[in-house]
């Protein structure tokens, strides 16, 4: 599989998969948080300007909290900052359990180093240097930023194709490839679909559009629990 999941073995002896989020989606999430904070700063600055020096004091305390503690509080209580939640991400410990206060604080206090020399250059280089896309703060805290998957349902997808039984048992990863092929059809051109389906011509004995259709029927069968 061409994705960046890592697997962790739980005490029950099963593997859980954690799909790791890369630097691009994380910087977008950071940027959304940055915008949210800017809007809040401007609004509170206007409101507090009526309070004179007391207002300035409140503003400075607020700045302190939003700079150092805003991400921690959201990540520990809600799983992610508003920006991360919008991008479908959440922060978790290395072993897939919920983020602890200690780890949340550590990873966010160390933001100051990841930010150096400007705009998270150090953090970016660090994420590209390890398999789990961890910035320095994540390495020290033992935390991961992962995708929150959409709610999975059984038999929820209505297939437009007639299910057709597989001619012989497919392995789990082969079945998954079939499903991925169907799921991604909206994103790939007809020519490319045919090209991909033709790879299987020696096995399924048909080619071009017929092969695409046949694969879709097999995929529908895999989806539809028709066994």
């Amino acid at each position: 599989m061409l994705d960046s999941s890592i697997s962790y073995e739980t005490p029950e002896g099963i593997q859980i998969q954690l799909p790791i989020a890369g630097p691009m989606v994380r910087s977008l999430a950071w940027f959304i948080d940055f915008l949210i904070r800017c809007v809040i700063y401007i609004m509170t600055a206007i409101a507090l300007s009526y309070l004179g020096e007391v207002g300035q004091g409140i503003m400075l305390i607020g700045l302190f909290f939003s700079e150092w503690l805003y991400p921690t509080i959201f990540e520990v209580l809600k799983g992610g900052t508003p920006g991360k939640m919008l991008m479908g991400l959440y922060v978790t410990m290395d072993d897939g359990t919920a983020l602890t206060w200690q780890a949340g604080l550590t990873r966010n206090l160390l933001r100051a180093v990841d930010f150096l020399p400007f705009l998270y250059i150090t953090g970016l280089i660090c994420t590209l240097c390890n398999r789990q896309f961890k910035r320095i703060g994540d390495l020290v805290a033992g935390s991961l930023v992962v995708y929150k998957e959409a709610d999975k349902q059984l038999n929820s997808i209505e297939s437009t194709h007639l299910p057709k039984a597989l001619p012989f048992p497919f392995s789990a990863s082969e079945q998954r490839t079939l499903l991925d092929f169907q799921d991604r059809q909206q994103d790939i051109s007809g020519g490319r679909q045919i090209e991909l389906a033709n790879v299987l011509t020696p096995v399924i004995n048909c080619e071009n559009q017929a092969a695409v259709d046949l694969l879709n029927q097999y995929a529908a069968w895999v989806r539809g629990a028709g066994k």
Partner: protein, 326 residues
């Protein structure tokens, strides 16, 4: 067992488990069912793990496996979450955890204290004997500003910083934003092989010592020393502790002691965490003292000095004695 039989036989259990998770995560309201099902959560979770591994080994469809995997993942997050009782943990941290952790790391604390106090002492002496020496470190405008703040002839109604009482709160906010922020930056920059922490410790030592020496040389003793006496114990000690935490991080990269650097860094993060939390809390307290006590006028200097000395004694006896076994 055919997949269809497997599904129809167990689907009800999966739905109940999913419902229980929703309630645990706060998506659904906790009803009477919850109170009766909740104690069975660990057993149900382990049963879900069995379903998942059965589905995987029997090569059931990926759709079913993904569905079960998601339920197991959500259950895993809940069963193995570390959720200590917040307030008892916090109280234990203050009464024992922080001073114990600091004494465990006394070597880095000693080093960071030396990095801070030795430059401060020498810069203070130099500036005391040479009124021009401070300009080698601090710009002319900054010196002017500091001199203005503590100039006795400027002070209206003996307010040490020559400021209105309204601005006490503003300064309080500034102390929190600035001073606690410096602690955190000192800590984080320790990751640069300790260089950042070393720089912050030496620079702040030179700066604070220099200002103190310079103002004493100028004869602003009556305004400067009573002002700083009260919060100095908390603030300076906290600064050295933050430096120690940073040095701990940096040292783990230089000498990982047989671990991989990633692992050594992770352990150093755990070891240094109580130090930086304690330092942040101490600086937070210092901001209160600095904002609302140090700046209060009309208090005899003798009292301010006594409180200052008492604070030094209190801080050190807390850090050195609290949480000892006997």
């Amino acid at each position: 067992m055919k997949q269809m039989t497997f599904e129809s036989k167990n689907q009800k259990f999966w739905q109940e488990f999913s419902m229980l998770l929703d309630q645990l995560e706060g998506i659904e309201i906790k009803d009477d069912n919850f109170t009766s099902n909740w104690p069975k959560f660990p057993a149900h979770y382990r049963k879900m793990c069995q379903f998942l591994s059965a589905a995987q080994s029997r090569q059931y469809s990926p759709i079913l496996i993904d569905f079960l995997h998601q339920l197991v993942l959500r259950g895993h997050r809940h069963l193995y979450r570390q959720k200590p009782a917040m307030w008892p943990a916090f109280a234990r941290f203050i009464s024992q955890g922080f001073p114990q952790a600091l004494r465990r790391e006394w070597r880095v604390w000693l080093i960071s204290s030396c990095l801070f106090y030795i430059p401060a002492f020498f810069m203070g002496l130099m500036c005391y004997f040479d009124s021009e020496f401070l300009y080698s470190l601090v710009t002319y405008e900054q010196v002017q500003q500091v001199e203005y703040m503590y100039d006795p002839s400027n002070i209206t109604l003996a307010r040490p910083e020559g400021r209105e009482s309204d601005s006490d709160f503003m300064m309080f906010g500034f102390y929190i934003f600035n001073n606690v922020g410096i602690d955190f930056k000192t800590y984080a920059s320790g990751l640069l092989f300790g260089m950042g922490s070393i720089f912050f410790m030496i620079f702040n030592g030179l700066f604070i010592g220099g200002i103190a020496g310079h103002l004493t040389n100028k004869g602003y003793i009556e305004t400067f020393w009573p002002f700083v006496a009260g919060h100095s114990a908390l603030e300076l000690t906290a600064a050295t502790i933050a430096g120690a935490a940073g040095l701990k991080l940096g040292y783990s990269l230089i000498n990982p002691k047989g671990f991989t650097r990633a692992l050594a860094l992770k352990q150093a993060g755990i070891d240094s965490f109580p130090l930086i939390c304690g330092a942040g809390l101490m600086t937070f307290l210092a901001a209160f003292v600095e904002g609302f006590w140090s700046a209060t006028p009309d208090i005899p200097h003798l009292i301010k000095y006594s409180i200052g000395i008492a604070a030094w004694l209190a801080v050190f006896s807390y850090l050195l004695l609290a949480g000892r076994k006997s």
